[in-house]
Amino acid sequence: MTEPVLSCRGVIHDYDETPALLGVDLDVHEGEVVAITGPSGSGKSTLLLCLAGVIVPREGSVLLGGVDLRAVGERNRAALRRQSVGIVFQYGTLVPELTGEENVALPLLLSGRPRAEALKTASQWLERLGVESVARTTASRMSGGQRQRVALARALVATPRVVLADEPTGALDSVASDLVAGELVSAARNAGAAVVLVTHDARVAAFADREVHLWDGRVDDTDPSIGAAADQQVLQ
């Protein structure tokens, strides 16, 4: 079996002594789509930020492309994120003053690509995701769905090895959710990137190859029927 592109072992983290993760192991292989599900407060987003190297866990290891993220400083982790990781957050969180094209081109500009080349690549990605109409529109004036797709383009423009998405459809209606989730998975697959998708929505989790269910900071693999669908049934 090939080496995982992203893996973590024994990850433990807390916020001011409030436990968030209590020992999580996870492997993500190239091209794989993994959904991390669980109720609110189960540690999903914390795990995602640990996998991205945004948070350094208190204990455990996180390997991105074989590099132990705990062993490198913040500057190197940021560089790794730019090169190997694409991140999508719940509200898109684009830079509101930049246009759609500029937001997508930002990772390329940061890597030193010439402006014309960066904008051309950005424009191609916007077209691929069906939002070329907002290329010259500032992010503050886009709809939620447009913002998410532009954020997705930004996550994919630098051809990352893995895309991490934290509730990417959380702020969207069901139609837009299906659209964005579907585009996220297919675009990432076409680009050869693995996807780790945090969601509490069973319909979104259904796009994944595999589901990992978190409960109280741990992976809950005791009952295969437990998952996002079961969570939603309980809530109903």
């Binding site: 945004v54 991140i87 969180t93 003053e97 500029e102 500009l109 940061l110 500032t138």
Partner: protein, 425 residues
């Protein structure tokens, strides 16, 4: 909600204990105290009866020049007003959301105005009154001794020494000249704040109209041509919110005008009068030193206003900045963007101010001794222009703007933390 909302109810609805509100209350209190004290001093100088003032500061004692001193104090009040406005804007987004929630609960526009005014007026009125009390305390202390404040002998400035104690000795005369200056100061600051608060209720659902401005135009044209991420961010932010940095830039430009003009006039006067008489009669040196002291105070207030405006902008952008850092944008890029956002309007304004101040003052007095004396027979060699001093002023103003940006950028350490990803939009 009842059709008529009492002030007590309005105050109850306005009261909050969030950190932003506390910061805003204290900031408003302090800045309105400073503004009111300056306005009261200017008004008091104008209210003084002719021939009534005995002061070691001759430009204040002289009836013919006192108006100019009042004008100078009013100029210093401009950055103080700007600072008051900036502190009032802290947490404006949360306040707007709060107003929208009240409106959705059934509040009418007049009721919302009452809440907004109740929220704003109290710290401003308290601060302005506090400014008057502090001036009054100064009077009491100085009247007890009937002497200028002892002990402190001055601050060395490039062109001479300022006797701070002599300057303070004029305060009792100024503030007790008449009953109306303190009332005018407190009333105008409070009324201005109330009017601004009432007006703010108009823009709850949409940002205020994006007026055209030179900064917005230039930044919007240059941004599409830059490949540097920090410069791109800075230019787009200037185009999006030009007032954040252009207003302080204009105030720094004004300081540059005053500084260069007074530097030239000082040089002219020293040359014409001669060093011996200049030292013997301190009329001119006192005047110029007071101008530079006032300029330094004005620059300090302007820098403070800039720090408040930039820090507020950093806090408002915290979620997008945290997401940018999480996505791999270096924090140093964001810091540089903030510094560029400050300096790109400031440097042209300062350079323009230096040019205007220098050109107008030289044109006014002429370059030779004869020009100043009005006696062509006294023409002699041209007085050398003080390029070095002007350059020092320019560099000092740019350094002040840079320091303000660096101080504000320290907020980025906090606002780019991962927990900021979860703050509401």
């Amino acid at each position: 909600m009842s059709a008529t909302l009492g002030w007590a109810d309005a105050l109850w609805l306005a009261r909050r204990r969030t950190p932003n509100d506390r910061l805003r209350y204290w900031g408003s209190l302090l800045s309105s105290a400073i503004t009111a004290a300056l306005l009261c001093t200017a008004a008091g100088l104008l209210a003084l009866q002719q021939g009534s003032v005995i002061s070691r500061i001759q430009v204040v004692a002289d009836d013919g020049t006192r108006g100019g001193v009042a004008f100078a104090v009013l100029l210093v009040a401009l950055p103080a007003l700007h600072l008051t406005g900036q502190t009032w804007k802290l947490g404006s987004i949360e306040r707007r959301d709060r107003m929208r929630q009240l409106r959705d609960a059934g509040a009418g526009t007049d009721q919302l105005r009452r809440v907004a005014v109740a929220d704003t007026v109290i710290p401003v009125a308290v601060g302005a009154t506090l400014g008057m009390i502090l001036l009054g305390l100064t009077i009491a202390v100085l009247n007890m001794s009937r002497q200028p404040a002892p002990g402190y002998h001055g601050v060395a400035l490039p062109a001479g020494a300022v006797d701070i104690s002599a300057a303070m000795a004029v305060v009792p005369n100024v503030v007790t000249a008449s009953w109306w200056p303190p009332l005018l100061a407190v009333g105008s600051v409070t009324a201005g704040a109330a009017a601004a608060a009432a007006r703010s209720v108009r823009h709850l659902d949409h940002p205020s109209h994006r007026r055209p401005s030179l900064a917005r135009f230039v930044a919007g044209r240059v941004a599409p041509r830059t490949a540097r991420p920090d410069l791109l961010l800075a230019l787009r932010r200037i185009a999006d919110e030009p007032r954040t940095t252009t207003r302080p830039a204009l105030l720094l430009g004004l300081a540059a005008v005053v500084a260069t003009a007074s530097t030239w006039l000082n040089r002219q006067a020293r040359f014409v009068i001669g060093e011996e008489q200049w030292t013997a009669d301190d009329y001119y040196s006192q005047a110029y030193n007071l101008v530079w002291l006032a300029t330094a105070v004005g620059i300090g207030l302007c820098a403070l206003g800039l720090v408040v405006a930039l820090s507020d902008a950093v806090v408002r952008r915290r979620r997008t900045d945290a997401a940018a850092v999480a996505a791999g944008v270096p924090a140093t890029t964001l810091r540089r963007a903030l510094t560029l956002q400050t300096l790109l309007p400031a440097i042209p304004a300062i350079l323009l101010g230096l040019a205007i101040g220098g050109a107008t003052s030289v044109a006014f007095t002429g370059r030779s001794r004869g020009d100043w004396l009005g006696d062509p027979a006294a023409n002699g060699p041209l007085i050398p222009l003080p390029w070095g001093l002007w350059a020092i002023w320019g560099v000092a103003l740019i350094v002040v703007a840079t320091l303000a940006a660096l101080i504000a950028s320290t907020a980025l350490t906090r606002t780019t933390q991962p927990d900021q990803l979860r703050v509401p939009a």
